[in-house]
């Protein structure tokens, strides 16, 4: 398919999708859909799409909420702290251990990530307020989990509506006990998506981790010239570990991981790092900018998906350091190149030319494009659940061809785009997975790595390649058609 015809098909698909909406909704959604390209004229975004606006009511949006952004993404993976889902029972239950934030620790004793702590609000707490209950929760947690290194209070919707003062309760308890208590006003109705929750959580890291002077265990670590921190890697399936190994091999010292497999001590000592390495820009650019301003730590974005981007990023990181690091960086690249070549030789012939449509959150809608292209695959559609203009602007630099850009795409639209553009693989989340698999389309979850991973770094790329091959070339997709089906029937 030539580039013109792909673009024409993409534009036609958008027009067709919009026809199904009532007028007001169509007008709104039209602004969130577009066709982008590497030479795209839009200044601040990609495909001229608008983003970070309220979701149209009554559609099946894939978006989450501020609580999901704070508890689920930013704070939840900090392993030596207890995170209370403060409010009714549901939120904590639905989000329990869903993101595969790997960590090492004795769960329930010195680490708590996969557990669900909730204040389980009842009607009386709503009517009379729950501040006393929260205070009691904090006491009980400290009694039963004496090795916790702090507690965060993750507000659910009712908290802000009934006028509970979690900030005062937390402050009083912290003063009394010397504990680190972090109240986060991340009620689910705040903002338009999980994005605001990231921001609110970042702000509380600033206020309670950096400015709060928390007690930390063990000696503070001595500073070296080569200290870096990984920011915005949630260690899904172990991603941060397969990134960390490369940085260490090139002579850097990774003093902190944010926030996958993180401890609060690592976060505290990040203020002494020489360089912050930011993977998920969307969820942690706020705290990176703060550290730049307040502590003079520069930050750079990097991308460890696929060898092309990994090589670029490794060199970009090395350029911040002296020649010894740069030399070692080249050694690392050279060391892994034969493995990369072998992976590409094995899988490229099996995947060449296969088309992919993506819909994810955070950084992946742009960051993983390179990894697919490294396998000879073509990304023809992508979009974000909760991006802002600056994410779309960055996307423009990572796309290779005419690409449908859909912001906050809903189930109806994604299904329509897929039917019209007929990709060979759809890569998105759990909610959409079985819709497309029912149609006989190979599918990979790109939030959880579909229970595989890691996908970061060189070792991760090999897994990524094997998984995409597994999905696309599995014999199971061939079984949908029964022997008695006539031609043209599924």
């Amino acid at each position: 398919m030539g580039p013109e015809s792909l673009e024409a098909k993409q534009k036609a698909a958008i027009e067709e999708v919009l026809k199904a909406y009532p007028e007001k909704a169509a007008k709104n959604r039209a602004k969130h859909l577009g066709v982008g390209g590497p030479e795209d004229e839009s200044q601040k975004t990609c495909g001229n799409v608008r983003s970070n606006k309220k979701t149209v009511p009554g559609v099946m949006s894939q978006r989450g909420c501020a609580y999901a952004g704070s508890k689920g993404v930013v704070w939840g993976p900090v392993k030596d702290m207890v995170h209370i889902s403060h409010g009714p029972v549901g939120c904590g239950q639905y989000s329990r251990a869903g993101r595969r934030n790997y960590y090492i620790g004795t769960t329930g004793v010195d680490t708590f990530v996969t557990m669900n702590f909730t204040s389980d609000y009842q009607e009386k707490d709503i009517v009379f307020g729950g501040d006393k209950k929260l205070d009691k929760c904090l006491h009980e947690i400290d009694e039963l989990f004496p090795l916790n290194n702090g507690i965060t209070v993750q507000s659910e919707c009712p908290i802000g509506l009934i006028g509970d003062d979690i900030n005062a309760t937390s402050k009083m308890y912290a003063k009394k006990t010397g504990q680190t208590i972090v109240p986060v006003n991340c009620e689910g109705f705040r903002g338009v998506s999980q994005s605001l929750g990231h921001h609110l959580a970042n702000d509380t890291i600033r206020d309670y981790v950096f400015d709060g002077n928390p007690t930390i265990l063990g000696e503070p670590i001595e500073v070296t010239e080569y200290d870096v921190a990984i920011i915005g890697d949630y260690n899904i399936g172990g991603d941060a570990w397969s990134s960390r190994i490369l940085l260490e091999e090139m002579g850097l010292r990774v003093v902190a991981q944010w926030s996958g497999d993180a401890t609060i001590k690592e976060m505290v000592q990040t203020t002494k790092a020489k360089l912050n390495l930011l993977h998920c820009y969307r969820s942690m650019n706020y705290i990176s900018r703060h550290m730049e301003k307040e502590y003079g730590i520069p930050w750079i974005e990097y991308n460890f998906f696929g060898p092309t981007q990994t090589v670029k990023s490794l060199r970009k990181i090395a350029a911040f350091f002296d020649e010894s690091i740069q030399a070692k960086c080249e050694e690392v690249i050279a060391k892994y190149q034969p493995m990369v070549d072998a992976v590409q030789a094995k899988f490229r012939p099996r995947l060449e030319g296969k088309q992919v449509m993506l819909f994810v959150g955070g950084l992946r809608p742009r960051h993983v494009i390179g990894a697919y292209e490294d396998l000879g695959m073509e990304v023809i559609g992508t979009g974000y659940e909760f991006a802002h203009d600056d994410d779309y602007k960055r996307t423009k630099d990572e796309i290779f061809r005419s690409t449908v850009i859909y912001d906050d795409v809903n189930e109806y639209e994604l299904e329509a785009f897929v039917k019209k553009l007929q990709p060979d693989l759809v890569a998105s989340g759990i909610k959409e997975k079985y819709v497309f698999q029912k149609m006989g389309l190979p599918y990979r979850q790109m939030h959880s790595w579909d229970y595989s991973g890691p996908y970061h770094g060189y070792d991760g790329f090999a897994i990524f390649a094997a998984d995409m091959d597994l999905a696309i070339n599995s014999p199971v997709w061939g079984h949908s058609k029964a022997p008695w089906d006539k031609e043209g029937e599924a």
């Binding site: 989450g64 029972v89 939120c91 009691k136 929760c137 919707c157 265990l217 570990w241």
Partner: protein, 517 residues
């Protein structure tokens, strides 16, 4: 480094020496006790296993840890998906809906359609009327459902939105463009801070049954039996129940039949599959009888059916032999027919199987948790096999459940003597203490038992909801005689697996590693 001929994912990758070194090296920067002073972590870990810890743990009044329950709208979404071409619509913020959809999808490995009207801060201040007007219109236009069933999140409940008035206003404003005057918009208030997912099931079922039947009461009965499955997560159970009713040749309406929705064949995807036809639901008030299979999930609904509608029927829980017998007898009574030979044969086969396997379940101690009705049925079955349900834990007990469970345990001399405990309103962190201090042989429960299995070494038999990490179990039945046979098979074979596990020591214990059992 990866070997291209043997690419491994994280499970084996991180066991390679270079990654072991990475993880070891990371510890110097960490502030967790495991990195600073591992002996202290071990000491505290030991302490959490004892009676002192158990007492402190059981004394908890405020914090819930690892609950075994969810919130109301989840149940409301299940009800809605049991009606033909019905879109569950949650009035509130969309984060909740993302959670409900993920939760069900992870369990069933099936799509779960559901929309929200995406309320945000302005709606919190001014109310969600505009969201509802736009939302109902957009939902009807895009997905073309035959009915929209509206439930609420806690946000909408706290600000006090009035669903009845909003639905009328939405129709008025739409003026028939997408929402015809007679288009059914059913609704229920489902505050997350009251009860649990089964309360939400009850409220939505009550809402749909009462609202759809308004003005439809006729002088004559329609000769049908209504069956309400309750918060049923076993697709096979629904089919077993239907097969039993059909074997009597009875006309029936299953109210809220989501068995096809969450069990779609591969091929063309359509958003909705199966479900109770709306016309049948509208007529359910004229049935001869209504049977609920989950008493505690349908308290409000059955109050209406019994007191207002004055239907015969009542409650029957077809899990286990006795439960199924009672269900069958009830149908015999309601239809005035003899028990069909087919069921007699099925029962005979089940009893035969129970008599084949009983030595393995007899006297074994079990811990079990789940919803109230599930527990009544499962404990009943365990007792029928001579097992001892040592810990029966329900995080969302309804009124009367604790007494009923106690009375059930007391019917078995063996169980009463064996000191069986009922734990109402407790969570799975309580269960952890119970398992350490008063150990059992096996646990029966959902995926949340996985960490208990890791911590306590008690084998977990996956029966319950949600089950995220084992496949296809929800396709089977746990109800009826065939369902009881599945339970028997799963439990017995897990006991046998464990027996092999315990005896496989070469040249030490494998004399008991028998080929034939």
């Amino acid at each position: 480094m990866q070997d291209v001929n043997n690419i491994v994912n994280g499970k084996d990758l991180f066991r390679k020496p270079e990654y072991k070194a990475v993880l070891e090296n990371k510890k110097q920067f960490e502030g967790g006790m495991g990195a600073i002073n591992p002996a202290k972590t071990e000491e505290i870990a030991e302490w959490t296993k004892g009676w002192d810890y158990r007492e402190k743990n059981l004394a908890r009044e405020a914090i819930t840890i690892n609950p075994a329950k969810a919130c109301q709208p989840l149940g409301a979404v299940m009800v809605a998906l049991g009606f033909e071409n019905t879109m569950p619509y949650v009035h509130g913020s969309h984060g909740c809906v993302a959670y409900f959809r993920s939760y069900f999808t992870r369990h069933f490995k099936e799509p779960t359609p559901c929309v929200s009207d995406s309320m945000t801060e302005d709606a919190a201040v001014f109310g969600g009327l505009t969201n509802m007007k736009d939302g109902l219109k957009n939902c009807a236009a895009l997905y073309k459902p035959e009915m929209i069933a509206v439930s609420t999140t806690c946000m909408a409940e706290v600000i006090g939105d009035d669903l009845y008035a909003f639905a009328i206003a939405a129709k008025e404003e739409d003026a028939g463009e997408f929402l015809a005057a007679d288009f059914p918009i059913t609704y229920a208030h489902t505050p997350s801070f009251t009860g649990s997912h089964i309360t939400g099931y009850d409220n939505m079922m009550h809402g749909i049954m009462s609202q759809l039947t308004e003005g439809n009461k006729k002088e004559e009965k329609n000769g049908k039996i209504n069956i309400i499955p309750g918060f049923e997560t076993y697709i096979g159970s629904m089919r077993s129940v239907k097969a039993i009713v059909e074997s009597f040749g009875a006309e029936y309406t299953m109210l809220g039949d989501h068995s096809d929705q969450w069990d779609m064949p591969a091929g063309d995807y359509s958003m909705f599959a199966g479900g109770t036809p709306i016309a049948d639901a509208k007529d359910c008030i004229n049935a001869d009888a209504t049977i609920t299979l989950q008493k505690y999930s349908t308290v409000k609904t059955m109050k209406m059916v019994n007191k207002k509608w004055k239907h015969a029927g009542g409650f029957s829980n077809p899990i286990g032999l006795k439960g199924t017998d009672e269900f069958v007898m009830k149908l015999a009574e309601l239809t005035g027919k003899d028990v069909p030979q087919k069921l007699k044969t099925e029962r005979g086969r089940l009893v035969d199987a129970m008599q084949d396997s009983y030595p393995y379940m007899h006297g074994k101690k079990f811990a079990i948790w789940g919803d109230p009705d599930f527990l009544i049925g499962m404990v009943s079955f365990l007792l029928e096999m001579g097992a001892e349900p040592t810990h029966v834990l329900c995080n969302n007990p309804a009124r009367g459940w604790e007494d009923e469970m106690r009375a059930l345990l007391d019917t078995s001399p063996a169980a009463a003597a064996a000191d069986c405990h009922v734990w109402a309103g407790k969570d799975l962190w309580h269960m952890r203490s119970l398992l350490f201090t008063e150990p059992v042989d096996f646990m029966i429960g959902n995926s949340y038992g996985k960490e208990l299995m890791r911590d306590t070494d008690v084998p977990l038999i996956y029966i319950g909801f949600p089950i995220f990490d084992r496949h296809h179990l929800h396709r089977y039945s746990i109800s009826g005689y065939d369902g009881a046979l599945n339970l028997l098979t799963w439990i017995t074979n897990k006991v046998l697996d464990q027996l092999d596990e315990d005896t496989k020591g070469i040249a030490s214990t494998d004399y008991f590693f028998d080929l034939i059992r």
